[in-house]
Subunit: 252 residues, 2 copies
């Protein structure tokens, strides 16, 4: 079940950090490492820091975008050390780890870490259905990347030792959910609900709600149907109105 | 009280590790670092890995023996990743951290880590009144030094908090949510998304999703806004279409 948990490093700067992450993964029983963008997994310092976990570096996969890296994952959890807009629903690793373990019992999960210097940006956070912030001294909340990974994996590993009930729902793959959001954005722009200058702002609220809920495939179908109908109405609804007028029915 | 907890590194090999330890200490609110024997606290890599915790390196103290390094400490806790003779009373960081914190309320404590390659030897263990072993995958129990320190300090830091921040959301009152569902039903009937014979069937799916997520007041406001806009469009959208037709704009 730990095999189902992928560590995704977005644009890691230090290759020594990548090696340290690989080591922590092996210490805690994980093996699926993905790199988004650059990140030298075979440098001297990556291999040195990985110690006996070099096969994780060798087997790691590279993706161009975060969306691709998590496409097959039902649960995508981001990490942030900052609060602020789009980040206020963040929870601790201890609270989140059992949920990750429960989700990993039925499908792939991803735990996503941003670049060392500034972490995940808001565009990347869009893909995350839940957020983790590691509790720290407020005077210096920025953890080293590999140390942040270590703490999260430690909590996940401990959660596997406890008897946890399997998650009640089976989450749809991230890519299905992204297509739903594409559809949603398009239809809600058509009816003028979203600000065309910044449609993602309000969509973030929906991402947060649906991320918290977790969407199953059937939920995705129902919601897609709703937005398809909205889009239909936005384009064809006038015909309904004209038909009503023709029949002399009341229009508000 | 965290000022009373000293991290003691016995003969650390990698100066980068020393810097990483300093950073983890500052992240978790500690500042008292002691080195037994060699260990270059001012090397380039020590300072680089310490990032904003360089003052901990600068203020660190060097001792010839472990005995001297812990001389003023009421509680001395060692760390080991191995079992065996003198080591079978080892416990997890989670169990031990509250005891360290309790002891630190009334005096100095030390948390002792051995060299990267073989850990604390039995002579050094003699000075330790308690032992910590970090739970890991049995296939690779040897953690990087700085990552082991990070996990222990994370547990200690959490122990200082009254309780783990379990940030629950603040759910909106049921009546707000019911009004949302009323609005939703009305608007989705207007655009023909719900079956007028049995509108509640599909609404149940939404109740399930939103129930799982839990809706805060701000979520209710956002969703109400969406359904209000759908309803507006269902009734007034034809005017938008007629305006488009009047201006000779394309209608799908």
């Amino acid at each position: 079940m730990l095999d189902n948990i992928r560590i995704v490093l977005v644009a890691p700067r230090g290759s020594g950090n990548i090696g340290s992450v690989a080591r922590a993964m092996k210490n805690m029983g994980l093996n699926d490492l993905a790199i988004v963008g650059h990140g030298r997994t075979q440098s001297f310092s990556a291999r040195a820091m990985a110690a006996h976990a070099r096969e994780i570096l060798k087997d790691s996969r590279r993706f161009t975008t975060l969306r691709e890296a998590v496409a097959d994952c039902g649960l995508v959890v981001g990490t942030t050390c900052r609060g602020g807009l789009y980040r206020d629903h963040s929870r601790s690793p201890r609270v989140t780890a059992p949920e990750i373990v429960a989700a990993a019992r039925s499908g792939k999960c991803a735990l996503v870490f941003g670049p060392e210097d500034h972490g995940l940006d808001n565009e990347e956070l869009k893909h995350c259905q839940a957020l983790i912030t590691i509790p720290t001294d407020p005077g210096y909340p920025s953890l080293n990347l590999a140390q942040a990974v270590t703490i999260c994996l430690y909590e996940i590993f401990l959660s596997t030792l406890e008897k946890v009930p399997a998650e009640a729902i089976e989450r749809a793959p991230a890519e299905s959910v992204e297509r739903l959001f594409d559809k949603m954005k398009h239809s809600l722009l058509e009816i003028g609900y979203l600000d065309s200058q910044n449609p993602d702002h309000i969509l973030f609220a929906f991402r947060r709600i649906f991320g918290r809920a977790g969407l199953e495939e059937k939920d995705v179908r129902i919601l897609t149907g709703l937005f398809r109908q909205i889009e239909w109405y936005a384009n064809e609804g006038w015909k309904v109105i004209e038909e009503k007028k023709r029949k002399g029915l009341k229009i508000r």
